[in-house]
Amino acid sequence: MDRRQFLQSSAAAAGLLAWGTETVSAQQAALRFSTPEADPQQIKTWEAIFADFKTAKGIETKGEYGLWDDLVKKISSDLVAGTPPDIIAGGSKPGFVQDLAKRGLTVDLRELVDEIGRSDFDPAALAQWQYKGQQVAIPYGRQTCVLWCRTDLFAEAGISKLPVTWDDYMAAAEKLHKPEKGIYGAVFPAGRTWNTHIQFIGHMWSAGGFFFNEKLEVVLDSPETVRAAKYYTEMVKRFSPPDATTYGFREAAAAYTTGKAATTFYFGRVLTHLYQQNPALLKVSETVHIPRDKQNRVWDGQDEFVVMKTPKSSRSIDLVRFIMSDPNQLYRVFGPVISHVVPTRKSVVPKLQEHEWVRDNPKIVNTLIQPHDYAVSDVLESSKHPFNYKMDAMISKNVLPDMIQRIVVGGDSVEKAVSAAHKTAVEIAKDIKS
């Protein structure tokens, strides 16, 4: 090959590359909006909102959609590259966002909250995203986990009232459980996933236990935890599907939508699933709050907007303001998952009634959308607790799911498994700095 030929082939190669390559230099001006809320329909919704925003303000926005599992990876590598996204939406990880704030990477949104109307927000929701007096994110939606119940199966089993307490629930599950007919009384998730953490910690709180005390020391090894673990694992072993020890979110929902489970813990998303996959169950479904022990406690999860400190911050705030302050835009965000994510702005909640699915299924959606004052979260186990920066590690290390699995799969005694989990948690917490 001589030089000319070499040059020719190089040019050809370069041409090929240029044809295939699309660099983003031209899009420098666009806002980068990163979110794990990336279901195809949700993406469509985001893109429609961005289009409206462009029409209204002339600012372009580019969506970056990825898996929730990849969020930390994505943000970390963006930071390594020195190019954080402008907005993060729906990460649902207050501990992580607080860590970003601690490094001065986020914009304080207090003023924006005041501008939109502080009194219109659920104060508990705002509190989850506060750090040293800053509002490090604005929560736009709340997710409540409820107990989905098949009223036809309840009637068949001769149960007239949906369960309120643990005792009610266990008695009901016993009557509902007919595995020979392919019906399971309950679905207590016990997979090595976040869902198991969420469901168990809610039960632990209900029994009066805590993972951490107010000094953020691990206090897992308590009679309350043991009591909750006994109840929880008994429900797994006796009344849940045989593969419940593999269940995360999607399996817990699928067990119900496929008609295999008489009850399940899940968020409002099941409503969408039922419409898509099994509309016959809509008429025979109702929701109630998760049965309680000593007190009502519900795990509270939220979707939020985080505005990162970038040269485009003021425009990012414009976008958040555009979505948050216009009830129509905010309502739109919830469309694909109606009743799953409920607006944190009280004045927008009634708007949900515009949706046919909400109007047609009051017995399903009321529990989901009515505000309740006993929601607690991973980062604020009670109103007296300080912000908990240690819980994220407990979640990622699957401390609680491993404990449940030890009891259900490994056959360990509850006391032994709880104290082992306590030990592991202490070990992990030792290395976490505030």
Partner: protein
């Protein structure tokens, strides 16, 4: 090695066109082979340095630091061997090391056995052989996400087809009698099966290729000597395949040892951490809520060292073979 010098690549192009096969070595300048060789390798070396050696060095470097994954651009605290000491005292690490080793050994062995058996089968003549050879490569082409989801669908204890089939022939009393991924032993087997299913075609292709170059007269001669099919298999086929199988085994071991996706997507390391492999531990340590990049790197470096040992064995073996 030839001593002929190459013509200069920078020689004027016009002259070339005039006499494409002009006498070698008369260009204005002459580049010796050594420079040409270096020039031809340079881009690859550059790629290796930037995309492999640097990241590798970075990993080793950060393993001596206490550093949050969010702080990688700003720096952490140098802690010497602290991360390695932490590792040695960490029960989970030893457990994961054991699991990873078991997983690799079992998956690779099964891949080799199944792959060889299938290659032998596909080497015999039957109608539609070409088609079948093409078809068995499909699992290798399917995206991992899809592979995992299809198998989760098949394994499902309450609406899975596998259970339904076993139930219909009457081996189990109820459809849900087996919960494949819900107890440690069967979950381990389940994940192994999927990894074998997905990657065994690679072994088939390579073994099949090797089978085709075994001289037929070896078999003829053995036949004349009165060797039966079994002794022919052990004395000729297996002996001829030995080298390639060893090589494939080592390469596959490296690959499976580092595989994250299949196991994580199927079981998240559960139940009871029965499928918690080292790559999952790296992920949980360095990238999830924990974000101890230094510790994650330390685990990765240990994995790297283990594989280096495997490689060394491999090269030693190759050298011995070359000397024969």
């Amino acid at each position: 090695m030839t001593r002929i010098y190459d013509r200069n690549v920078a020689e004027p192009a016009e002259e070339h066109r005039a006499s494409p096969r002009a006498v070698g070595g008369v260009g204005p300048t002459i580049i010796p082979d050594r420079w040409l060789g270096a020039a031809m390798l340079a881009p690859s070396v550059l790629v290796f340095l930037a995309l492999l050696i640097f990241p590798l060095g970075y990993g080793i470097y950060t393993s001596f630091f206490r550093i949050d994954t969010l702080d990688l651009s700003t720096g952490g605290t140098f802690v010497g061997f602290e991360n390695y000491l932490w590792l040695l005292g960490n029960e989970q690490f030893w457990h994961a090391l054991k699991t990873s080793t078991m997983f690799s050994v079992v998956v690779v062995s099964l891949q080799i056995v199944l792959g060889t058996a299938v290659a032998l089968l596909l080497n015999s003549s039957f109608k539609g052989r070409t088609l079948v050879r093409g078809l068995i490569l499909f699992p290798y082409m399917m995206p991992v996400v899809a592979v995992v989801l299809v198998w989760l669908l098949l394994y499902n204890a309450i609406f899975g087809v596998i259970n339904y089939l076993i139930f219909s022939v009457g081996f189990i009393p109820r459809v849900d009698s087996i919960a494949w991924l819900a107890n440690p032993t069967s979950a381990f087997i389940g994940v192994v099966l999927v990894a074998v299913w997905k990657y065994f075609p690679f072994v088939v292709v390579i073994v099949l290729a090797r089978l085709q170059v075994i001289p037929q007269d070896l078999y003829e001669a053995a036949k004349i000597d009165g060797a039966g099919p079994i002794s022919r298999f052990f004395d000729i086929t297996l002996r001829e395949l030995r080298d390639v199988l060893l090589v494939v085994a080592l390469l596959r071991t490296i690959f499976i040892f580092n595989n994250f996706e299949i196991v994580y997507l199927m079981t998240h390391g559960g139940p009871m951490q029965a499928t918690l492999t080292l790559p999952i531990l790296v992920y949980e340590t360095a990238l999830d809520g924990d974000r101890s990049f230094g510790r994650g790197s330390a685990i990765a470096v240990v994995m790297f060292a283990i594989l280096m040992c495997v490689m060394t064995v491999y090269f030693r073996f190759l050298r011995k073979e070359d000397q024969k």
